[in-house]
């Protein structure tokens, strides 16, 4: 790995400001790293020329001592964010060569702050998946491998391209989205930091919709500090998203004081599921010890409806998806497959344009919303969701944060679980209730499995208290001192 591609965002920022390096040099080093790691299939559309152009503009600003908080930082963007004049497909065939004439609010914020676009990152089709295997553009390969075994592993999903690219040093940081765990689970599988903010913190405008009451954008980075810097740029109140919340965006980096004395950390007992691998239990215990040693108080808490979060999610998310994805009909953009009449044209375009998992979810969603089943499924699931949220509200009367494992296992092999939707869904067992309750959560790399793969711990915060979350994550990151590197990374 070159010195330039191994820089964290905060280190790169210092070197750019001190003129030790230029933004063009940094962009060129990452373009080279993208080429070296092309076999991972993390980037699906490269924007090298645009990157150099943007980097030159950043250098001009930096030379005058100007520039935003991401000035000259090369980033990757999950292909779910619309980027003006740059192809955007949500990794689906149905979007064809769709090239937006507008920019998503999250990415617009980042360009205004000086970030440099390297390209669009692979993901599960419409963010529906936990392994990045449902992408029309093929699976992403995890830069990590098991010890003494070169089996190709999944990077997790749906933000698998984002996580793999950051881990492989092909970009400094990446945008991602999280509907049921799609930022945190791939971060755990790739030894990176993945942060899902409170629902409403980042605007959803211009981001391809999957399940609108759950979707939230956030960063994947290599350090907690970098995630704090990224979120400060990505987050904003936006009148174009009516669920965006009008709360000032703090300078999250200032929250990293290193002091968590007296902070109350809850350990939800329902997360101790049957059959949890011993190494995951041990990692969780280790996390408790780290926080205790730093002066935090540990409390047992109960979230009695945890077990029902995943089944409720698999009603709410497909229902909202079936509604959101109704727009892909071959009329206004994307793939059109002709038929004898317009109804056939719709049905043909959607049959050929959507992959198997997306079709499955649309059908489940259509069924649970159909006449006679709406109350029994969708309304019931939303009632259960109220109970899940109340569990958290009650627990947060006693504690400031909660600590759990991020995933029940380390990364698995490509092809191992793809034939079994339910096994795949269980990947999100520790992350999904956070989305159901709209809370912020972060996964940090905390340990290595017996076969040499990264494992993550998750901290869960109170609504709009990302600062406390970052503060504790930073302390835990220092205690974990995770320095292992993946095998497949840019040299």
């Amino acid at each position: 790995m070159s010195d330039l591609t191994n820089l964290t965002l905060s280190d790169a920022r210092e070197k750019l400001r001190n003129k030790d390096i230029t933004a063009v040099e940094l962009a060129e080093a990452h373009i080279d790293a993208m080429q070296q790691t092309a076999g991972l299939n993390a980037f699906i559309f490269n924007t090298e020329e645009k990157a150099i152009e943007m980097a030159k503009a950043s250098d001009a600003k930096l030379a005058k001592g100007e520039g935003g908080i991401l000035e000259g930082i090369p980033v990757g963007v999950k292909d779910l964010f619309c980027t003006k004049d740059v192809r955007t497909t949500a990794s689906s065939k149905i979007l064809g060569d769709f090239t937006p004439t507008y920019e998503s609010t999250v990415t617009a914020n980042m360009w205004a702050d000086g970030a440099v676009l390297l390209g669009k990152l692979n993901c599960d089709e419409f963010a529906m998946g936990s392994s990045n295997e449902t992408s029309f553009y093929g699976p992403v390969v995890n830069p990590w491998q098991r010890q003494g075994d070169d089996t190709q592993l999944v990077p997790g999903g749906s933000s698998g391209g984002s996580a793999a690219a950051v881990a492989a040093r092909a970009c400094v940081a990446a945008t991602a989205t999280d509907t049921g765990g799609s930022i945190r689970q791939p971060a755990a599988f790739t030894g990176t930091v993945g942060m899902k903010p409170t629902y409403g913190r980042c605007s959803r405008w211009g981001t391809v919709a999957f399940a609108s009451s759950l979707d939230q954008a956030g960063p994947i980075t290599r350090t907690v500090r970098d995630a704090a810097i990224m979120l400060e740029s990505m987050a904003s109140y936006d009148v174009k998203d009516s669920t965006s919340v009008n709360v000032a965006v703090p300078a999250y980096e200032k929250a990293l004081t290193g002091d968590i004395k007296g902070l109350k950390i809850g350990i939800p007992k329902e997360f101790k599921v049957d059959g949890m691998p011993e190494e995951i239990q041990a990692l969780w215990q280790q996390g408790i010890e780290w926080l205790k040693a730093a002066g935090a108080e540990i409390h047992d808490v109960s979230l009695p409806h945890t077990k029902y979060a995943l089944p409720a999610y698999y009603i709410v998310a497909p229902a909202e998806a079936s509604s959101n994805l109704a727009r892909y009909d071959g009329v206004r953009y994307g793939l059109r497959v002709a038929g004898d009449n317009i109804d056939e044209q719709y049905a043909n375009s959607r049959a050929e344009g959507f992959g198997d998992e997306v079709q499955r979810r649309i059908l489940i969603g259509t069924y649970v919303l159909s006449a006679g089943y709406y109350d029994a499924y969708y309304k019931k699931a939303q009632r259960v969701r109220t109970l899940i949220k109340q569990d958290f509200d009650q627990a947060y009367a006693k504690v400031d944060l909660m600590l759990t494992p991020t995933t029940p296992t380390a990364a698995f092999g490509i092809g191992e679980n793809i034939g079994d939707p339910l096994t795949m869904y269980l990947n999100d067992i520790f992350t999904v209730s956070v989305n159901m309750a709209g809370l912020p959560g972060i996964s940090i790399p905390a340990g290595i499995s017996a076969n040499g793969l990264p494992l993550g711990l998750q901290l869960i915060g109170k609504p709009f208290d990302e600062e406390t979350l970052f503060r504790a994550a930073d302390v835990m990151e220092q205690a974990a001192d995770f320095t292992a590197l993946p095998q497949l990374m840019a040299k």
Binding site: Y308, A312, I315, A347, L363, Y367, K389, P421
Partner: protein
């Protein structure tokens, strides 16, 4: 609640997704597995519990009822598979 192949066809038609006979057979099995999984929710007593309408407490914002966007039909149709003079073209829908 289990679904049969006729229901799979009906739902696929509602969702405007063309499915082959072979797919219908596979989907019947897959969808029933998922429905069996979500049926766990019937164990939960939700009497008197209101359905969640928003994960985060907020009031719906209001805006002035004015036209403040639009006037760029060329951009709207730019990605259309077929368009003419600012209109989307589709197969004939009225006989």
């Amino acid at each position: 609640m289990a679904i049969d192949q006729a229901t799979v066809r009906k739902v696929a038609n509602l969702a405007r997704i063309k499915v082959s006979d072979e797919q219908v057979a596979n989907l019947e099995g897959e969808l029933n597995l998922i429905l069996k999984f979500v049926d766990q929710l019937s164990e939960v007593n939700t009497d008197g519990v209101a359905p969640l309408t928003s994960a985060v407490e907020m009031t719906q914002p209001l805006r002035a009822d004015v036209i403040n966007d639009g006037g760029y039909a060329d951009q709207i149709v730019k990605n259309a598979p077929a368009s003419d003079d600012g209109f989307f073209l589709v197969p004939k829908v009225i006989e």
